[in-house]
Structures are given as structure tokens and as C-alpha cells.
């Protein structure tokens, strides 16, 4: 877990050093990390595609792979934190679309600057997270049931409200509305790096991973997230604000959904109201491949990012290798299985033995 990383402030000799602890080798420190399985898998997959499809190594291809990874990875950040906190969310896929629809329908219907719609969408996303969290706390039902219910309800709302307001299955175009260009620049532009166009979502994604890692390893809240996922009762008994932390996690997932929703909207100018279904599993898969335990209390934000990167590589790598993309899902399933087995081994190592 977190702690196994040696912090840089270790230089001064402290009370924590003890002659009975053999200096841990870098290797054994690495082997104790939750994301080690994913890292090995990512490197293997990278080498594999580099061999079977040399075009994979071109900077442009890498930028494409990173873009694919970022669209999963942005959500995987929140989903990983939530999973470490012991819960998961099946409504994320459609909640992304709900957010995008809120922004576009509100600004189109009222003829407002799209930034107003963007703010409304943020509130909607956070509210969805809050409601998921509060229902979970109040009913004490498992998150599987609670978020399955909100998945179904949001699916219905997305379709129903879009048709009722815009009169079609897709939201009306907002391309000519005020604020569209600036919003597109923020959520769906590209950055030119050495002649290669890299999508802005890649940078947003990396920034979010860094912030999430910081929160997880270096703040009180991070400590609480691990604790409520590891043993909720114990956490409550020592005074951890379990309810606040859990609801906060669902709202963080909502925030990630907003970021991705805004990208989806401004990458084009309208949203298909039936989209998003099934994507929730991709985010969960990225988190699990990245070493987050389904049972909670163990994992990392970096792991979720590596999981998303694996997803991006497999997704695009198959295309570069000129294989039939039908095989992609098979790949994904196999990887998930392997990753879960590796996770169990890593967790056992962390729990017992030295």
C-alpha cells in the first residue's frame, strides 16, 4: 500500500529505522505495490504490440493510444478511489452522458452561454454522486443494488428528457452558441508537442491521477478512504467520518463523470442520449486491472491509470496490428482474469510474510 513507497524525507536517521529490518531491496518494495501486476502487464503488452505492429511505436500512434486511455482513465481515477473506499458505481457510464446532456439541453433550451450549462452539468453530476451516496448510507443496501437502480433511472431519464426537450434521440447542436469555442478549447482541444497533436484530455487525465495520488497517500482523507474500505466498523470506531467520506467519494466519481461528459459534448456538438451504457464496466475493469481490490481497502490511483493505459493499448493495438476488433473484448476479459489473480497474490504478500 501507500506506505511502502519510501518518502523522500527519509534521509535523516529516524526512530523508524531498526537494525532488525533488513534494508528492503527496491525489488521487494516494488513487489509490494498494488499496481505491480498491471505495470508488468502493461510493459508486456507494449512490447508485444511493438513487435507485431511496428507502427504502434510511432509518436502519432502513441498519442492516439494515450487519448483512448485518457477517456477511460479520467473516470477510472474516481472509480479507483471509490473502489479503495469499498464501494463501486454501476451508473458511471450513463452518468457521463447525463452530464453532457444537462449542459447541452440547458444552454440550448434557455439560449444561454454554454458555460452556464457546464456549471449546471457540474451540479447535476455532483448531485447524482451525492444521491448515490446518501441512498447507500441510509438504506445500507450494497452499492451494487443502489447504483444499478440509478443506472437504470439515469438511462431512462437521458432518453426521456432528451426527447421531451429536444424532440430527438440526440441533443440539438450547440455549435453556434455563445461560449462553445472557449469550452471546446478547455475540454476538447489538442496540444501540439513536437509536431504531434496530443489531446488535452491526456493532460487533464494525468493531472487528475497526480491529484488523486496525493490525496490518497498524503492527506487525512486518503487515510480515511483506505480505512473505510479496509474495515468500515474499525474506521468508525476510531472517529473516521465514514458517512462524509463515502458520500464524498461518490461525488468525486460524479466530478470525473462531468469532466468526461464535457469532453464528449465539446469533442462534437451534440450527444446521443442512449450512449454510455456498458462503459461503467470499462472503468471498473481499469481499476481492477490496476490493482484495486473489489473488496476495498487496497489499490492506487496510479494503478487505475495503468489499467486505463492497458485498455488504450489493447483497443488501438489490435487496430494497428490489423486484427479484427472483434477480438478486443476477449482480450479484455482475459486480462481482467489474469489481473485479478495477480492482485490476490500481491495482497496476500502484503498481508502476511515479510
Amino acid at each position: 500500500m501507500s506506505s511502502i513507497t519510501a518518502s523522500p524525507s527519509h534521509k535523516k536517521k529516524s526512530a523508524t529505522t531498526d537494525e532488525r529490518v533488513g534494508k528492503k531491496s527496491t525489488l521487494s518494495i516494488l513487489l509490494g505495490r498494488p499496481e505491480i501486476g498491471a505495470l508488468v502487464g502493461a510493459v508486456a503488452l507494449f512490447i508485444f504490440f511493438a513487435i507485431v505492429a511496428p507502427v504502434f511505436l510511432s509518436p502519432a500512434s502513441l498519442a492516439t493510444v494515450l487519448y483512448g486511455a485518457s477517456t477511460i482513465g479520467i473516470m477510472a481515477v474516481g472509480v479507483s478511489l471509490l473502489m479503495i473506499g469499498g464501494e463501486f458505481d454501476l451508473s458511471t457510464g450513463v452518468a457521463v452522458i447525463s452530464s453532457a446532456l444537462s449542459a447541452s439541453l440547458v444552454s440550448w433550451y434557455f439560449g444561454l452561454n454554454v458555460w452556464v450549462g457546464i456549471v449546471v452539468a457540474l451540479l447535476v453530476s455532483m448531485l447524482i454522486g451525492f444521491i448515490n451516496g446518501i441512498i447507500l448510507i441510509k438504506t445500507k443496501l450494497p452499492s451494487f443494488i443502489v447504483t444499478l437502480a440509478s443506472f437504470l433511472m439515469l438511462t431512462g431519464l437521458n432518453l426521456g428528457l432528451t426527447r421531451a426537450i429536444g424532440g430527438s434521440v440526440s441533443s440539438p447542436s450547440i455549435a453556434n452558441m455563445e461560449g462553445f469555442q472557449s469550452a471546446k478549447a478547455v475540454f476538447a482541444s489538442s496540444v501540439n508537442i513536437g509536431g504531434i497533436e496530443v489531446k488535452v484530455t491526456v493532460f487533464i487525465w494525468l493531472a487528475m491521477v497526480l491529484i488523486a495520488s496525493w490525496i490518497l497517500l498524503r492527506t487525512k482523507v486518503g487515510n480515511w478512504i483506505f480505512a473505510i474500505g479496509g474495515d468500515e466498523k474499525a474506521a468508525r470506531a476510531v472517529g473516521v467520518p465514514v458517512v462524509r467520506t463515502k458520500i464524498g467519494l461518490f461525488m468525486a466519481v460524479g466530478f470525473c463523470g462531468w469532466v468526461l461528459g464535457m469532453h464528449n459534448l465539446f469533442a462534437f456538438d451534440s450527444v446521443q442520449s442512449g450512449e454510455g451504457i456498458g462503459n461503467e464496466f470499462l472503468y471498473i475493469i481499469a481499476a481492477v486491472i490496476g490493482g484495486c481490490l473489489l473488496t476495498g481497502g487496497y489499490g492506487s490511483a496510479i494503478g487505475g491509470a495503468i489499467g486505463a493505459f492497458i485498455f488504450g493499448m489493447a483497443n488501438k493495438g489490435i487496430v494497428y496490428a490489423e486484427w479484427n476488433p472483434d477480438w478486443f473484448k476477449f482480450f479484455l476479459g482475459l486480462m481482467l482474469l489474469l489481473a485479478t489473480v495477480v492482485n490476490i497474490v500481491v495482497k496476500k504478500r502484503a498481508e502476511s510474510s515479510k
Partner: protein
Amino acid sequence: MKTRKNKKTEELLEKLEPKTSDNLLTFKGVGKHYGSIIALRDVDMVVDPGKVTCVLGDNGAGKSTLIKIIAGLHQHDEGEFMLHGSAIKLKSPRVALDAGIAAVYQDLAVVPLMPIWRNFFLGSELTTGVGPFKKLDVQKMKDITKQELSDMGIDLRDVEQPIGQLSGGERQCVAIARAVYFGAKVLILDEPTAALGVKQSGVVLRYILQARDRGLGVIFITHNPHHAYPVGDSFLLLKRGRSIGYYSKSEITVGELTAQMAGGAELAELAHELEQLGGHDEELSEAEAGATSQTTA
């Protein structure tokens, strides 16, 4: 039988009455039910600083219920629970902790996969910096954890290791050291020795005494009178949710305590059965002795 006990309790409470405000905790006729199940009724008890109050009883006697009331996990429905002489109801463990009441639970309030130092400071983390850049003071927390544990005589190799790797006794000790460090005035231990071997139990008992010597009021819950008697100053006996006796150490011997716990009537019955069977002289005299000491206690 019932009147005798009530009288005894009254006497004890009377003795303690004049200095009620010096008592850390006072229980008067406290009761608690879960729906229609009466888990606890009519319990009187006093906890003093620098003293160990033992709560004894069989499984299901209501011991855990009692401490959950003190620790703020549940609230009592009847009677009075007083802290420093004023009646209170603790709404949450956080409130109890802030009032100086720390509990170490049977099912251990630690998160196994988290490092020892993170567990030690869980819920009361130290931070440096301000605003959004406020971060955990990792090095300081590690140093304090190591120091506090070694002050308690617990010599751990590495505070980075997940607490799940420690033995049951060591985990209890970390939890006790944590309570002491965070300035607990009342330390509650729910069956800390139940799952431990003889040697480990001895170690935990030693930490109970250390906590007592530092001036904490310790509530030690156990079903083993041989663990309770050597460290205890007063003894509350629970049976099926009722108090069946409250004694100070001078009033009772370890044999009487055992007999009380086993229940005089049951022992008398056992003696009777053994007598009828014949040929178990030694066991018979033991059971009889137990039954007698019960009635004379």
C-alpha cells in the same frame, strides 16, 4: 438472593456517593434493548481514575452492549450514565473520544491492510501546511508511533508493516498505546485476552496495568475470572443482561468470583448429579465448595 445483591450494590454506591464528581464514570440502573431483546438492564457501576473495573459474564451477558454505550456506539434507554458526575448520552464514537473515552474492541478496531503508523493515527492524523496543501506529517507520525510503542515496552521492528501481520497480542497493545497517547481518561477493553494464548494474555494484562498506572480508568471485559482478579480493583458480574453482583477486590476471592460466574445453583445441581453418579469424589467436593462459596459470598 436478589435482595442481597441489590443491597450490596447500594452499599457500594453509597460508599462512593460523596465523591461522585471524582468518579470518572457512574452507571445507575442503566438498561438497553435492541427492539424487543433486552440486552442490558439495571446495571450499576463506577469507574475511577487509576483503577481497573472488570466486567465479567458469559457469552451474551451484555458485556459488549455495556461498553458500546460507554463508547458512543449505542445509547442507553434506561437509567443514568454520568461522566464526571453529569448525565450524558454519547451520540457517536467521535463524541466519546473527545470526552476521553477510548475503546479497544473484541473485533479489534484496526484496519489490517494499513501500516501500523497509519492505524495508530487513524482518525486523528497529524498534518503540516495550510489550506489545500495541508498534508500528512508522515515522518512525525512514524517517529511517534515507534516511540509510544517502545514506551509501552512493545518493540516493533517496522511501523511500516501492515498491522495485520502482527500477532493478536501485539495488535491489542498497539490499540492500547494509541488510546494512552491520545490522552484517553477511560480505556475500555472488550475481551482483549479471549483469543490469546497464556503468554500473550500475560503481556496484555501487563499493558492494562501500565495504562492504570498512568492514571487511566480501565474497564476490562472478560469471561475469565483468572485474568480479571489479578488486575482488577472492582468487579461487575453480568448474567443475561442483569447485574448479579458488584464487588470491590477486598470483598471477594478469585474462587468466589469463579463460583459466582458459574452460578451457584448450576454448581449445586452439578454436585447433586455427580453425587448420584458416584465415584467422582474430587469433582464433587469442588462443585460443592463452589456452591457454598457462592452462597456465603
